[in-house]
């Protein structure tokens, strides 16, 4: 629980920590992507502007690819660059490089592409309502009992929608490729989450033209949130090709406008829920969920997002009879991808709204209704995975108590009677399975390496990146705390694929949970093997043994057995749990929701570094609240947003007081923290708005325009 300071904070503050754009190489030139502005069509002709010396430019397109034109992904269906047909706005057609960045920009802006336009689906609802757009494999969790609903069970049937969400990492996507022809090595400096994904990406596009790709991250990775999981593979591929062709180091840093328009986002969803609730016992007896995601033009990693979505779709309720289906829908928009939460925020958005509607309809207190139905020991997930702890209900009880929820419900009810503005309070719960889904961690087979130097310095080699979450501080802390070694003698090295073993990607809340716990066991194992009490003493009296390298692999717990065909079994070994209560103040004249306070109780097991954990939770919670409140990326009639000027990110002025408490911290394991703060808060905003006004809005975000429409629609009724 020690809150040691971060190793990188001071250099980040005084500007000496290097982010991608802060690196430069001799003779380096600049690259940029030329992408489609047509949603679907065949390319007829590309006109380069007059007045430029074309020989100064390096241009690469699909025709120049020595390897394969398919980005490696869970489903490999997306080309690096379009050949003749483009399937979405933002699809890359060419990479172009020039020594002068300004001139390059100007040149690219003047390029004209003639298309023969074909029919395209760009509207989210048009995509998700039409079953003809389904592509890829349907996932089904079938936990039906075959029992017919009793005639007195109350039926509820609703459809919920969630929008895109932009990761908005503050450092745009960027890549530098340095071709080394003598060694036939493509060196790539990347701002990314997954150096080994980037390596595979470069080696796929370059094929036998190179011997190997070596990826090293920049010192600083300016935020990622899932957005730097798979897009960097594509970007690195094209940057490498430009370096290969020009023979010069090439740097591409996306302009914010390009970044926001062409990179992956959170999948918009349409989630239809039907439930049957027994009015006597107040238990939900039967549920049917139809979970749909707009994947964009290609599947890429959407099937994995879909898997997590259906596995979290029921929220935290034990429902004896459940049927959940998940499907991907195709549209002519850039492929959606990973974003903190990975399918779970959509699931909770729908189910946490749904239970609120049932409770309202049956005139039951929303907390008491949740309490009746919440997971307890002895229940199971729809996949039959047994629930082994009551920690979710502990989170709920604690947050109700500390927020004074029950009393405030009454107070606000009174206050609202005499005021035009309204006060509201809302609950939501959530959880997140740690690590890769199902058998994923077995397949990943992660390995870590440690080198102990002659001066007893411990160098830790992991492929997991520190993109702000403090991973490199916390991972080192888990190692040195286990063997009581001085902090300054234990350092995580900058990930580099030629030195670092593959400990897997920095995703799925797995860094501390899988790799951190592995490092802790590893430290104890080394201590045991060498038989030391104090590493410093041991090294100084056994100098000839050092430097020495140690390696260890992750072994999955044998209880994790998951049938990926039928979606039966243990999908995740450990879950983080959370509950939230949010208070709002609704300004009746401006239709604006002001967040006033948000209480959050989270179980992530052992907390390694209290301040880092609280900070990460606060950031995720604000992203979550903003997902429900103000962020949207596509608007019918307007199209997609263009940058930070029209994509509404929360600022300091939107910030409520955020209270975070971790419970069950005496647990021996540190569970996942990265994603859960994003998963659960958003529905509390919507439920608080319902509490304030009596109106349900089943679509995020709750912007004034949407509120105005529902209020006036309600008055007309």
């Amino acid at each position: 629980m020690k809150s040691i300071r971060k190793i990188d904070a001071i250099p980040k503050l005084n500007g000496s920590w290097k982010f991608l754009d802060d690196y430069s190489y001799e003779e380096m030139i600049h690259g940029q992507l030329l992408y489609s502005t047509c949603h679907h069509g065949t390319i007829k002709k590309i006109h380069f502007p007059d007045g430029y010396n074309l020989s100064e430019f390096t241009v690469v397109s699909a025709a120049n690819i020595p390897g394969e034109n398919i980005v490696p992904e869970p489903v490999c269906d997306q080309p690096y660059m379009a050949d003749k047909e483009v399937f979405h706005f933002g699809q890359v057609i060419m990479g172009i490089a020039h020594p002068n960045r300004k001139l390059l920009r100007e040149f690219i802006r003047k390029i004209k592409i003639e298309y023969e336009e074909l029919p395209a689906i760009i509207d989210i609802k048009e995509c998700l309502e039409n079953e003809d757009n389904v592509f890829g494999k349907e996932l089904i969790i079938d936990h039906r009992t075959g029992r017919k609903p009793d005639p007195n069970w109350i039926h509820h049937h609703k459809i919920y929608y969630t929008p895109h969400q932009e990761q908005a990492y503050l450092e745009p996507q960027g890549m530098i490729a340095v071709w080394q022809p003598k060694e036939k090595i493509m060196f790539v400096r990347a701002t990314c989450q997954c150096p080994f994904f980037v390596k595979e990406g470069v080696e796929t596009i370059m094929g036998s033209a190179i011997k190997e790709a070596v990826i090293e991250t920049s010192e600083g990775i300016g935020g990622a949130f899932g957005g730097k999981e798979d897009f960097p593979s594509l970007l690195a591929g094209i940057t490498s090709l430009l370096s290969y062709k020009s023979g010069k180091p090439v740097k591409i840093v996306l302009e914010r406008e390009d970044d926001i328009q062409i990179t992956t986002k959170r999948h918009p969803a349409r989630i239809e829920i039907e439930t049957w609730t027994d009015p006597e016992t107040r238990k939900i007896m039967k549920i049917y969920i139809d979970y749909r995601l707009d994947a964009g033009a290609y599947q890429t990693l959407s099937p994995v997002v879909l898997a997590r979505g259906v596995l979290h779709a029921i929220s935290g309720y034990s429902i004896p009879d459940a049927y959940i289906r998940g499907r991907l829908f195709r549209s002519n928009t850039p492929s959606n991808g990973a974003f903190r939460g990975f399918g779970a925020p959509q699931a909770f958005a729908a189910m946490e709204a749904h239970v609120e509607s049932i409770a309202a309809d049956m005139n039951i207190n929303p907390y008491k209704f949740r309490r009746k139905n919440i997971f307890r020991i002895g229940n199971e997930f729809p996949t039959t995975q047994p629930i082994l702890e009551n920690n979710l209900s502990d989170c709920l009880e604690r947050v109700i108590e500390k927020s004074n929820y029950l009393q405030k419900l009454e107070e606000f009810k009174e206050w609202n009677k005499t005021h035009k503005d309204k006060k509201g309070i809302g609950i939501s719960i959530g959880y997140h399975g740690g690590g890769y889904t199902g058998n994923g961690e077995k397949v990943l087979n992660s390995e870590v390496k440690v080198v102990i130097e002659k001066d007893a310095t411990v160098k830790i080699y992991v492929a997991n990146t520190d993109m702000g979450q403090g991973a490199h501080t916390t991972l080192a802390q888990m190692f040195f705390e286990a063997i009581d070694h001085p902090r300054e003698k234990c350092l995580v090295q900058l990930p580099n694929t030629s030195k670092t073993p593959n400990s897997g990607p920095t995703v799925a809340s797995r860094t501390i949970y899988i790799i951190g716990n592995l490092l802790r066991r590893f430290a104890l194992k080394i201590k045991d093997e060498l038989g030391f009490e104090n590493l410093d003493d041991y090294v100084s009296s056994n100098q000839n043994e050092f430097p020495r390298e140690f390696r260890m692999k992750f072994v999955q717990d044998p209880s994790v057995v998951f049938d990926e065909e039928n979606y039966v079994g243990v999908a995740y070994k450990d879950y983080s749990w959370a509950a939230c209560v949010t208070e709002i103040y609704f300004h009746a004249d401006t239709y604006q929701i002001e967040l006033t306070k948000s209480w959050n109780v989270i179980d992530i097991g052992k907390v390694v570094n209290q301040k880092i954990a609280v900070g990460q939770a606060e950031g995720g919670i604000l992203q979550g609240l903003a997902y429900g409140l103000c962020e949207f990326f596509y608007k019918a009639g307007y199209g997609r947003m263009h940058g930070f000027s029209d994509y509404a990110l929360p600022t300091t002025m939107d910030l409520p007081e955020i209270d975070v408490e971790f419970i069950h911290t005496d647990s021996p394991i540190a569970k996942g923290l990265g994603e859960i703060p994003m998963d659960f808060p958003a529905p509390s905003v919507r439920n608080a708005f319902h509490n304030a006004t009596g109106i349900f809005i089943d679509e995020y975000p709750l912007v004034p325009e949407r509120i105005f429409k529902s209020l006036t629609a309600d008055e007309r009724r």
Binding site: D8, I10, G15
Partner: protein
């Protein structure tokens, strides 16, 4: 165009395209890469510097605008006693996450500290509202600036001047 200006307390001059952005002048011509480009459209504040003592987004300021003026970047502020105080407070609270926004926050908070410095959450929120941070949820940033306001009197005034 030849321009002269004061950069982090040193007089400098440079021959430059009058429309070149101050952000690029700092990063490319002076190697001061602490000033970051987050959006290039004046929205995120990652590129904030002080121009004649006032915070500006350097992605929207051109070379012509700085001739004869005084520019202070995060690197310069990091050398000042109150800058050091702020850095220590940000560090102590573990406020810094990815850090890309922080040089901008350092500049804006420094400006607040020298022009006002009252330990008042509403004033601080307002002062920092032009800077976007996507990682922290801002709470730890406030805590840090509040802490700096509290500790400011401990920094001797002649050090400040």
């Amino acid at each position: 165009m030849k321009i002269k200006f004061i950069l982090n307390e040193n007089e400098v001059s440079i021959d430059v395209d009058p429309m070149k952005r101050l952000l690029d002048i700092l990063r490319e011509d002076f190697g001061l890469t602490g000033t970051k480009e987050g959006c290039g459209e004046g929205e995120c504040g990652a590129c904030t510097v002080l121009l004649d003592g006032k915070p500006v987004t350097s992605c929207l300021v051109n070379a012509v605008h700085i001739d004869g003026k005084e520019v202070m970047t995060s690197e310069g502020i990091a050398q000042e006693p109150l800058g050091k105080l702020l850095i220590d407070c940000f560090d102590e609270t573990n406020a810094v996450q990815c850090g890309f926004c922080f040089p901008g926050f350092l500049v804006t908070s420094y400006h607040y500290l020298i022009t006002d410095g009252e330990k008042n959450p509403d004033k601080i929120k307002k002062a920092l509202s032009g800077n976007i941070c996507r990682c922290t949820g801002y709470q730890k940033i406030f805590e840090s600036v509040m802490l700096a306001c509290e500790r400011k009197p401990l920094i001797s005034t002649d050090q400040v001047n």
